[in-house]
Subunit: 219 residues, 2 copies
DNA sequence: AGAATAGTGTCTGTCAGACAGTATCGC
DNA sequence: GCGATACTGTCTGACAGACACTATTCT
């Protein structure tokens, strides 16, 4: 059966940093057909009567999975065609979002069988539709930006140490970074504000930083 | 009046190099309402019954404006919302294409009042809808890639000199490049094949090159 | 020879990578 | 002092920018 109008949906790759485990992406287990039981990126259908535009649609979908408005939401690309979804010709617009480290508990379940934070490099689940490709595309965009020295501050809590920021970048890139090189670059960055506070530990305390007002992860 | 389904259209920023004039983009003067008489990027509506996916739709639209299949066609981003087109909620998916220097004559007119190759940096025409923003977005993507040392070989004729390639990059970036620096990088590039032919002029002849088989402008 | 364009050699500053070193905390 | 982590100094090699230099053609 052929359709005259394409279905339009938005999917979102929501990234977070899992302490000690690295970069994680939110996957949901589909509770309904088609592809029931397969895992997918959280997503939903565009509602033109409700959504101002596609990004607004993505934010609305986000609010049904996560109870907060995320500071960074950005389009990756589109996926389209007659066969990518068994329900017929469809357009999927992919966004990615960065979930701050201190808001991880805000995730709620909504009409799905299960929720999981997976390693985006090896999800380990059978993915629905073309979501495996979508995941790869989102991860690529994120990595490219960090590779080009954009600071993923939206993944960090309000106040953080430079070491924690380095761990975040390493988790995204999947390789270790040199501490001295990393800090040398940050010295001249206008995106970081050094605080007069220190994080006590069992060792020498580390200075705390926060993102400069108005900071965005945009290119 | 509100619509339940969004209109889906594709628009294409077609770039070429105009000898001596620099980078040019194809604009068409709208022959029909809405915004009749305003200038726009060539585009058209998605036809799910015909198009395999959005890129195929863009290629189909391209074939009605230009009589060839272009080697490089790539998605930029989407524009969407209730107000960007007076006909109601719509999604515009923007692509950009690179037209080889030896196929410029292939452009035909199709249901438009006029066609013009404009300077993308200052189009000089009153643009329809959000096409002014679209043009800016496409130009940005093209510049970013060339800035990151991607070679815009799809804009060149089959065989070309290194100086001609440098002029093309300069036209895209809008600034002069150093000849020695430019050629030093190209020396190690696997994307260029040096030919045993030379282009005679009124001066010392320049060696001709062509793109390596399988070359693409992809990231 | 001179004009014009093709193509190269080389100096310098900047920056990334590597790695060793110093500083400051708890015990 | 010792372990652990924070933070810095410095050497080196790669590379970009700048610019002068050589090479080859035509007139």
């Amino acid at each position: 059966m052929r359709k005259l109008y394409p279905t339009v949906m938005v999917d979102i790759a929501i990234f977070r940093i899992d302490e000690g485990e690295g970069l994680r992406i939110l996957l949901v287990k589909r509770a309904n057909a088609p592809q029931k039981g397969f895992w997918a990126l959280p997503g939903g259908f565009l509602k033109p009567l409700v959504d101002a535009n596609l990004e607004a649609a993505a934010r609305r979908v986000l609010r049904t999975k996560v109870s907060v408005d995320l500071p960074h939401l950005e389009e990756v690309c589109t996926f389209s065609g007659r066969d990518r979804d068994p329900r017929g010709w469809s357009i999927g617009v992919l966004f990615y979002a960065l979930l701050p480290g201190d808001q991880v508990e805000a995730v709620i379940k909504d009409k799905v069988d299960a929720v999981e934070w997976s390693d985006p490099a090896k999800p380990g689940h059978r993915m629905a539709f073309d979501h495996s490709m979508q995941l790869g595309a989102a991860l690529n965009v994120l990595r490219q930006k960090v590779e080009r020295h954009a600071l993923p501050l939206h993944l960090m809590p309000d106040r953080f140490t430079l070491t924690a920021l380095q761990r975040t970048c390493e988790a995204i890139l999947g390789r270790p970074l040199d501490k001295a090189v990393f800090r040398r670059r940050l010295k001249e960055s206008l995106d970081l504000i050094a605080l007069e506070e220190y994080e006590g530990g069992r060792q020498r305390p580390a200075q705390l930083y926060r993102a400069a007002p108005g900071f965005t992860f945009m290119a």
